[in-house]
Subunit: 162 residues, 2 copies
DNA sequence: CTCGCTGCAAAGCTTTTGCACTAGA
DNA sequence: TCTAGTGCAAAAGCTTTGCAGCGAG
């Protein structure tokens, strides 16, 4: 992976990759990529739509979905499921996993190396080449383990049943 | 975990657990638990609804959702996300992970022990107690790795973009 | 007898799609 | 120019909810 050494694609690289794949660089796509680059990733389609609307109110919600699909197909971005809610999108970059606390919703990124040997064993035993980064890993964070009666944070929850 | 030694709760244990938690054992719940026990797990709400309808057509779709919620809350069942589609439900039992092939949709269950040391390291390094069983692990199965042009199986796909 | 559970209907939310028009290469 | 991409509107899923009646304990 060429991008594994960097945090993520920047605007220029993203547009370049899009162009090279035969896609057109439109106003909507430029804004969407800008927002994703600025946010540093982890936006749902809806969050992205709101953020994009601020910069260009003419971009339609349907365009967000179609563009996310198109950009994912040409390898400019990826989506991850952090929980029960909508997927979140981010520009491709260093492969990593997400630890999501089921109680407070905190998201921690960890390097993929942690699971290297486990994934090798799965490849060896089952012939299955696993890609762990597509889903978050749920659990309980240090803080919430310490305080069992910790109340839930009001925001940033994606995997909570009300 | 008391149920870790067995494949999953059977009807009697499930009803017992429901009753002990103060829940009422109704006709609808009995049928739902029966269907899940017979299926051996991995049913979406919609699949469950169809299967339940065959045995008792009077059970409403909304009851399926409310019952799944209730039964999950009292620890009778759990849900897992195998892919982009709806979650699948199963009676609680031995903790395991699901390998889902992104190309053919095949689902393989593997024991949680594979990841034991990785999860321990996460606990040690980040203080995060991870529970990997809530999401599937996507990747490519042996067969699909062998035949790169393998056509997708028409069914059992849950994590495929059309 | 009481209130937890259910059927029903309707709404809610996210995502997709058909169509005609616009604009990128 | 030529067609990929877009806005718009409407539909399509899937899931939730308010309400009144029923039935489990």
């Amino acid at each position: 992976m060429a991008e594994a050494s960097r945090a993520a694609l920047d605007r220029r690289e993203a547009l370049e990759r899009l162009r090279r794949s035969g896609g057109r660089v439109t106003q909507a796509r430029r804004v969407i990529i800008d927002v994703l680059a600025d946010a540093g990733g982890h936006l749902t389609a809806e969050e992205l739509f709101h953020a994009v609307s601020i910069r260009d109110a003419s971009v339609h919600r349907a365009t967000i979905y179609r563009t996310l699909d198109a950009l994912e197909r040409v390898g400019v971005l990826e989506h991850v499921h952090l929980g029960h809610g909508s997927a979140v999108y981010h520009l491709v970059g260093a492969s990593h996993f997400h630890l999501v606390c089921e109680r407070c919703g905190a998201v921690t990124e960890i390097p993929e190396s942690i699971f290297a040997s486990a994934l090798e064993q799965i490849q060896f035993d089952w012939g299955f080449r696993a890609r762990l980064s597509h889903f978050a890993i749920l659990g309980t964070c240090r803080r919430c383990q310490a305080s069992r009666t910790e109340s839930r944070a009001p925001d940033s929850h994606r995997d909570e049943r009300p």
